[in-house]
């Protein structure tokens, strides 16, 4: 680009800035950066594809996830059963699709729930400071000093094993990291001049915190939600593997994988455990790609 072209471009930017037109191009900057990020796009496509397959599961399979066919036990993949059948003759492909519904729901639901609690507490307490902030901070410190799986296992035995309880437990154990992240964002935003101006106008603290500060912290929050979704899906799988997750009569990705504890199945029937393992890994990978893309797009210090 020659010097004159460069100058012309600078003039254009200056003009748009002076006439308040720069905002719209700023908004699309985050979008542009995500679109330019190939991995994020791959992640998004995989995420959408797997989610659609799972949500509209009955359209993609003729079988029911729990229908037993004892004459067809541990059958290897054929055209009739795309991924074969398990030890009591249930169609694996069907179970992966229906299991995905629950696993994705648990992961996404828990992440959103944890974000709702963690972010609202973090936003308000982080801005106000004082006793409220100190108390919540102490509680989150206590929560975080437990290894997650130990805390979750104890809670699962207290409230009993079912789908909703598992989500409540994930939310209860997961909000503290969201809280800390939102709080640290608030602490840095709090020092900015526009906040002082708002305070001088006498606007209420809650309105300043939620209406004027929170939107500026939304980038890292979204990144955190995506990464937590991935974490909860992995946790559901690990808990089911230990026999402490969703009850075995409901298909989830973790429950399908659970049978691989049987060494004979592990050795001889790869189609029972490998495809669902790949499904979990690919889905989590896709979410992480999206999360990384969001982080790069939200962080103005990374130019590109």
């Amino acid at each position: 680009m020659g010097t004159r072209a460069l100058q012309k471009k600078m003039d254009q930017i200056l003009y748009r800035e002076q006439h308040g037109l720069l905002k719209s191009s700023n908004k699309s900057r985050a979008l542009r950066k995500i679109l330019a990020n190939k991995l994020a796009i791959i992640g998004l496509v995989l995420f959408v594809a797997i989610t659609i397959l799972c949500v509209f599961a009955p359209l993609f399979t003729p079988y029911q996830p729990n229908s037993i066919d004892l004459r067809n036990r541990l059958a290897p993949p054929t055209f009739g059963h795309l991924l074969g059948t398990d030890q009591i003759g249930r169609d694996i492909w069907t179970r992966i699709l229906f299991g995905g519904r629950i696993s994705i729901f648990v992961g996404l639901g828990s992440a959103l729930g944890a974000a709702l609690i963690g972010v609202s507490l973090g936003t308000y307490a982080g801005y106000r400071g004082g006793l409220l902030d100190a108390t919540v901070m102490k509680i989150s410190e206590i929560m975080m000093s437990f290894p997650q799986i130990i805390l979750v296992s104890i809670l699962v035995t207290i409230v009993g094993q079912n789908l909703w309880n598992l989500m409540y437990i994930f939310i209860l154990t997961g909000w503290s990291s969201m809280y800390r992240m939102a709080r640290s964002q608030m602490l840095s935003i709090r020092e900015q001049e526009y906040i002082q101006a708002l305070r001088a106008f006498g606007i209420s603290k809650a309105i300043i915190a939620f209406k004027h500060m929170l939107p500026n912290a939304i980038g890292p929050i979204f990144v955190n939600i995506t990464l937590s979704t991935a974490m909860f899906i992995l946790q559901e799988a690990a808990l089911s593997f230990l026999g402490l997750g969703v009850p075995l009569d409901q298909p989830t990705w973790g429950n399908i994988l659970n049978v691989a504890q049987d060494l004979t199945i592990l050795r001889e029937s790869w189609w029972v455990w490998l495809p669902v393992g790949v499904a979990i890994t690919v889905f989590v990978l896709a979410i992480n790609f999206i999360g990384d893309g969001l982080r790069d797009a939200a962080d103005p210090t990374l130019i590109g």
């Binding site: 206590i142 130990i150 035995t157 009993g160 992995l234 799988a237 393992g277 890994t281």
Partner: protein, 319 residues
């Protein structure tokens, strides 16, 4: 320095009291009690309610909650951790039987992930954009996304079933109990647990090293005409390793959590397996002790992190 450490340890005590109370409360809220699990359903019909009550009394299950908490706490302070409700074996003995196995596994995994993770991360940062960097980055992403136990199962299929190099699980063959004889049992679980953590350490140390290489003092060092390896290793690495040390310290809860799962995969008879068994049978003294112990480990490691940070980074003040 000594002052700093003492202050940190003193701050730990109220935290531990609160946590011990919470653990006790949590276990209290669990449905059923030990007596329900001690008697098989067939035998239950022949046992009269009065006998059940006598058994509860004997085990101290009928005292008020707060009394039992203080009895429990006082016992712990005297080194008495209670007895397994099913077998009557002292919890301290169960811990002593399983803890060495878990320590062996976690220390090996910690070594693998720390050495490999920071080494690969630094290599990746120094050769940014190269094929090696890209391969490592992709491997790291997959490493974060794959469930640990699935990775363990795949390794069993490859190295045990197909190549037949290593035993499928357990910790030792009877009669061959020296460390190097047991090594073949340790390799697979330690590598699986280690590699699962390596991915995170690698990603982090790469970012940290890149960050450190962009700093002004690196330019200063370069303009002084220092050798490139000296700049990278002495000026860049030392600063880059501080956040990595912090990360490794904070990964300890994940390490313990990972050990619970990996011990189950490889039938490694450590604390994790003991914990899962105790949770399934609501063996409260064991659950409490392991939960309490793991929290203690996490808190102590966070103090260690503070100390290591202070040593590595002169900008951190100890006060």
């Amino acid at each position: 320095m000594i002052n700093f450490i003492i202050r940190k340890i003193l701050a730990l005590i109220p935290m531990l009291v609160v946590i011990s109370f919470l653990i006790f409360l949590g276990v209290e809220l669990m449905p059923g009690d030990a007596v329900d699990f001690m008697i098989s359903p067939e035998a239950l019909s022949t046992v009269s309610p009065a006998e059940l009550e006598a058994l509860r009394d004997e085990l101290g299950l009928n005292d008020p909650f707060i009394v039992r908490y203080f009895i429990w706490l006082a016992n712990i302070l005297r080194g008495d951790f209670g007895y397994s409700l099913q077998s009557g074996v002292p919890v301290s003995q169960l811990m002593a039987n399983t803890l060495p196995a878990t320590l062996e596994l976690t220390v090996a995994a910690l070594l693998i992930s720390t050495l490999l993770g920071s080494l690969l991360g630094v290599v990746s940062a120094l050769r940014k954009g190269s094929i090696a960097d890209n391969v490592l980055t992709v491997a790291g992403m997959i490493g974060v996304a794959i469930p640990q136990f699935l990775f363990g199962l795949v390794m069993i299929v490859v190295f045990v079933f197909n190549l037949e190099w290593l035993p499928v699980g357990g910790r030792m063959t009877p009669g061959r109990e020296l460390f190097f004889q047991r090594l073949e049992y340790l390799v697979l679980p330690a590598v699986v647990l280690g590699l699962a953590l390596t991915a995170g350490v690698m990603r982090y140390s790469r970012a940290s090293m890149l960050d450190s290489l962009n700093k002004d003092y690196i330019k200063t060092a370069r303009s002084k005409g220092l050798k490139e390896w000296r700049i990278n290793l002495i000026h860049g690495l030392r600063v880059a390793m501080t956040p990595v040390a912090v990360l490794i310290g904070f990964r300890l809860p994940m390490l313990i959590g990972g050990a619970v799962v990996i011990e189950q995969v490889f039938q490694w008879q450590g604390v994790g397996q003991l914990f899962v068994m105790a949770v399934r049978s609501q063996n409260t003294p064991i659950i409490m002790m392991i939960a309490f112990f793991s929290v203690l480990m996490v808190l102590v490691s966070s103090i260690l992190v503070d100390i290591v940070t202070a040593i590595l980074d002169p900008r951190v003040k100890l006060s």
